[in-house]
């Protein structure tokens, strides 16, 4: 349905992070870093990722005549492809004896150079971060869930569905591409028992379109229309001369795009009278720019979790928030991203409990042009 050229076989890049998920079974809450991996092995952890990769590849088998599979040597893809009965072309990428994050990044780059149409990878949030760091949203990517931490909505629900979706995408099926958040938690803090997720970047992820009337997935054109409506609402409320601190994310970025302003996707940017004053500002820089009584914060709801402050926007520190004032915080949320959050509370975790308390209550979330939806805010 995408009208691609007939006769050209699409290329799938397969990256297996063989150690992903090994920490989970032995209670280590992640497998980032050589020390933890060693500990996991010593506790008897066995690789889980290769099996998950094989499951996904099995679901791909029906379309392999139409698709070329490019992968990495050994346990980073070659073995899994063979195990699933697939003929794969092995790219000449050097891989260390103990596969590392560096290997993942190098493989992803090699895949891009080889012109793959989709990168299919096994792993968890850590692997997704590595791939987002080198590919950004230039090449579509999809995760086969096999890590310990799966907070990023870049993974299919299970390996079989990952394979099916990849197959559908590569054979021109009804699939849209959507920019999705790559989240990761601080593993050290997680082991200490506290959960702190951060936004690390975005991947361009194929999303299953629902084959039914009225079903909008928020992807493709309708997603862009939705975000543009929110952007127009925020712009219509802007007061001349006031300072706007625009937090990270694709929802807030739509404002900058509509205004034609420079911005950082993951940082805090400053805006006044439709012009960018600063990009990717630190807390200190934010405080220097701040106009008391005339500054607004523009933040978005993090999909899936519902955090509005304290995740991915720590530059907006308690000091910044206090000087801006609760009544000048504009919270944005695209309905398609809020789907799982209706009826639940939005969360704040600024690091200052008394400020968090003051932020609790009901807050309007701008969900479209001329439209707000009320949400409860909790700590």
């Amino acid at each position: 349905m995408t009208g691609g050229k007939v006769g050209v076989r699409k290329k799938l890049g397969l990256i297996v992070n063989p150690i992903a998920g090994m920490g989970g079974a032995v209670g280590l809450k992640g497998t980032d870093g050589a020390r933890i991996l060693e500990k996991a092995r010593s506790l008897g952890a066995v690789p889980r990722s290769p099996l998950r990769a094989r499951e996904a590849l099995a679901a791909l088998r029906g379309v392999t005549d139409d698709v070329r599979v490019l992968t990495c040597a050994g346990e980073m893809g070659e073995q899994e492809s063979l195990g699933a009965g697939l003929r794969a072309e092995v790219l000449p990428i050097e891989i260390g004896p103990l596969t590392s994050a560096e290997d993942t990044r190098r493989s992803a780059l090699a895949m891009e150079e080889a012109g793959v149409d989709l990168v299919l990878f096994t792993g968890g949030d850590g692997t997704a971060r590595d791939i987002a760091a080198v590919l950004g949203t230039r090449v579509p990517a999809l995760g086969i869930p096999s890590g310990v931490k799966i907070h990023s909505p870049v993974f299919a629900r299970n390996p079989t569905m990952a394979g099916e979706l990849a197959g559908l995408f590569l054979t021109g099926g009804s699939v849209a591409l959507e920019e999705r958040e790559v989240m990761d938690i601080d593993e050290e803090a997680f082991r200490e028992g506290s959960l702190r997720a951060r936004l690390f970047g975005y991947l361009l992820v194929p999303c299953e379109r629902r084959f039914l009337q009225g079903g909008k997935s928020g992807g493709g054109k309708s997603g862009a229309v939705e975000l543009d409506g929110i952007a127009r609402e925020v712009i219509s409320r802007m007061v001349p001369g006031d300072l706007y601190l625009v937090g990270p994310g694709t929802t807030t970025a739509a404002i900058m795009k509509r205004l034609g302003c420079g911005y950082s996707l993951l940082g805090v940017d400053a805006l006044r009278d439709g012009k960018t004053l600063g990009v990717d500002l630190s807390e200190r820089e934010v405080l220097e720019l701040l106009l008391p009584g005339r500054t607004w914060l523009v933040v978005s709801v993090i999909g899936g979790q519902g955090f509005i402050l304290g995740r991915g926007n720590l530059q907006l520190s308690p000091r910044v928030i206090r000087s801006v004032g609760k009544e000048r915080i504009l919270v944005l949320g695209a309905p398609s991203k809020l789907k799982g959050l209706y009826g639940k509370a939005l969360l704040v975790d600024t690091g200052d409990p008394s400020l968090d308390g003051a932020l609790c209550g009901y807050t309007p979330v701008i969900t479209g042009l001329g439209e707000e939806t009320l949400f409860r805010v909790e700590r």
Binding site: M1, F211, G215, S222, P335, S336, Y342, G343, G370, L374
Partner: protein, 521 residues
């Protein structure tokens, strides 16, 4: 439950758009030449039109002979599905019911079809009487006082309410200050959409744990900026908001008007009224609850009822009875009127059918229809919840009125198949179902509304289909994966439906947007 097997397959004619069937010079009927005497009296006719107003080219209309036109539309009708072809309970929130055919005889009678809106009022006393009596009936149904039959659909009814809200506050000098309208997440999406068209900011209330609009959120949303509330009740979940009088009272204390979306009143006739719930106005869809046939955008009527204090703001004209002169007449003299919301008076054949339906049932019959609709719905819900993988939204609030929003969340988790898959498969049984309004707050949703028209056998047949599909999702995944097998459309590319640049609802748009498109593919 045994499922009656049907050897069914959807019809496919691959019928072109009628413009594509056009051949220049072909005619459906030939108008006789004007006779000499007539021509002498009026000239050639055309020369009486000022030159500046005459068109230089012919209108772009398809040119076909009558048999081709008849074939074309009959083929299209065969590619259709509707209340006259299937057990139409899957289109929840739409109140599909049987439309007695005798009412079509009334609406198709020359007494109706030959009426012209510009006729002298003395010659249309009969239809004016029907309009007037329809208003009287709706005074009883709603408890409210005055009526406009102008709105040409449900959303149009809501738009008329928003128009009235503006006129009311403008008259009180509060129009600038009151710029917000509050609605709820499970009200019909039009209740959020139309106030925006009138320039209001819309504030949406989330549901609480019971599925009712969150009262605390409501209190925080109400302010001196609130112009009105737009509530549906029962909401799209089928849950009746039993605290509705508290909501309306709070709005009233804030100086806001209370507007009721009763597009679907099918479970409430003779049981609960807008007046007692504290509403100032309410609209009713004659094409849903009151049995005028509907679908695909019209023809329809969103009859509007308002409290007496709002009468001066009604759209003009309104139908009145002149006691002294013993005649019905159209009253255009409402100086504070919000204006017109539609050309002329409304969609009169729709009102006529609804009037006939109501008169055939009487007050007791209407209430009985509602009670059967509620009974049907609760019977269906009990059976549906026995189907594997199906659950209900807000289970802590088990009683429902006329419809239920269900969820396949459990089945999706266990099998990977969700509401989209069921929707594809159900086409193989010669029926259909609709998922639910966006946003999908309830995961993998579908909404069933078994109105009073359906027998127990009908409901059991539909349940049998749902049961079989659920069983296939668990046991025969290949069947679901390749469904539908008896339909003509297999996959719909939603990119088209979500992309305004590709919408084409007229031939002119179509030719503009798709010129050369299919040749390029």
């Amino acid at each position: 439950m045994t499922l009656r097997k049907r050897a069914f397959h959807h019809m496919r004619w691959n019928e072109p758009i009628i413009y594509q069937l056009s051949t220049p010079g072909h005619r459906g009927l030939l108008v006789p030449e004007a006779e000499e005497g007539i021509e002498q009296a009026v000239g050639d006719g055309l020369s009486s039109i000022p030159i500046g107003m005459r068109r230089s080219d012919s209108p772009s209309l398809p040119e076909l002979a009558q048999p081709q036109v008849v074939r074309h539309f009959n083929r299209l009708s065969q590619e259709n599905l509707g209340a006259d072809l299937n057990i139409d309970i899957g289109q929840g929130t739409c109140t599909m019911k049987h439309n007695p055919k005798i009412n079509e005889v009334f609406a198709g009678s020359p007494k109706m079809t030959d009426l012209h809106p510009c006729q002298d009022q003395s010659t249309v006393q009969g239809i004016l009487e029907i309009l007037y009596r329809t208003e009287e009936i709706f005074r009883e149904i709603s408890g409210l006082d005055c009526c406009s039959i102008q709105p040409g659909g449900g959303t149009h009814g809501a738009l008329a309410m928003a128009t009235m809200v503006r006129a009311w506050h403008r008259d009180r000098g509060e129009d600038g200050r009151r710029d917000e309208i509050i609605t709820t997440l499970f009200s019909h999406p039009s209740d959020a959409a139309v106030p925006k068209v009138k320039g209001y900011k819309v504030v949406i209330l989330p549901p609480d744990e019971e599925g009712l609009p969150d009262m605390e959120a409501y209190r925080s949303a109400l302010s001196e900026r609130t112009a009105a509330i737009f509530f549906t009740n029962p909401e799209d979940t089928g849950i009746f908001n039993s605290r509705i009088a508290e909501f309306t009272e709070l709005a009233r204390k804030n100086g806001a008007l209370c507007c009721y979306d009763q597009a679907n009143a099918n479970g409430l006739l003779g049981i609960a009224r807008a007046r007692e719930a504290g509403f100032d106005m309410s609209f009713f869809n004659l094409h849903k609850t009151f049995s005028s046939p509907h679908g695909c955008g019209g023809p329809a009527t969103g009859l509007l009822m308002v409290d007496r204090v709002l009468e001066p703001y009604l759209p003009v004209p309104v139908v009145r009875w002149d006691e002294k002169g013993g005649r019905y007449y159209l009253d255009f003299n409402l100086p504070k009127s919000c204006g017109k919301v539609k050309a002329f008076y409304g969609v009169i054949p729709v009102v006529l059918r609804a009037y006939a339906w109501i008169m055939s049932l009487g007050a007791e019959g209407l209430e009985e229809a509602s009670r059967i609709a509620v009974l049907n719905n609760n019977y269906f819900m009990k059976k549906m919840l026995e189907v594997r993988g199906c659950s209900i939204s807000f289970p802590r609030h088990p009683a429902r009125i006329e419809q239920v929003r269900y969820s396949w969340e459990e089945m999706k988790r266990e099998t990977g198949f969700g509401t989209a898959d069921v929707q594809r498969r159900i086409a193989d049984f010669g029926t259909h179902y609709w998922s639910s309004h966006e946003p999908w707050v309830i995961p993998e949703p579908f909404t069933i509304e078994p109105s009073e028209s359906y027998s127990k056998e009908d409901l059991d047949e539909y349940l049998g289909i749902m049961e079989q599909i659920s069983r296939e999702c668990y046991e025969e995944p290949e069947k679901i994966r390749h469904a539908p097998e008896s339909s003509t459309i297999h996959l719909i590319d939603h990119e088209y439906l979500d992309d305004p640049d590709r919408w084409a609802i007229t031939w002119r748009q179509y030719t503009k947007k798709y010129r050369g498109y299919f040749e390029r593919r």
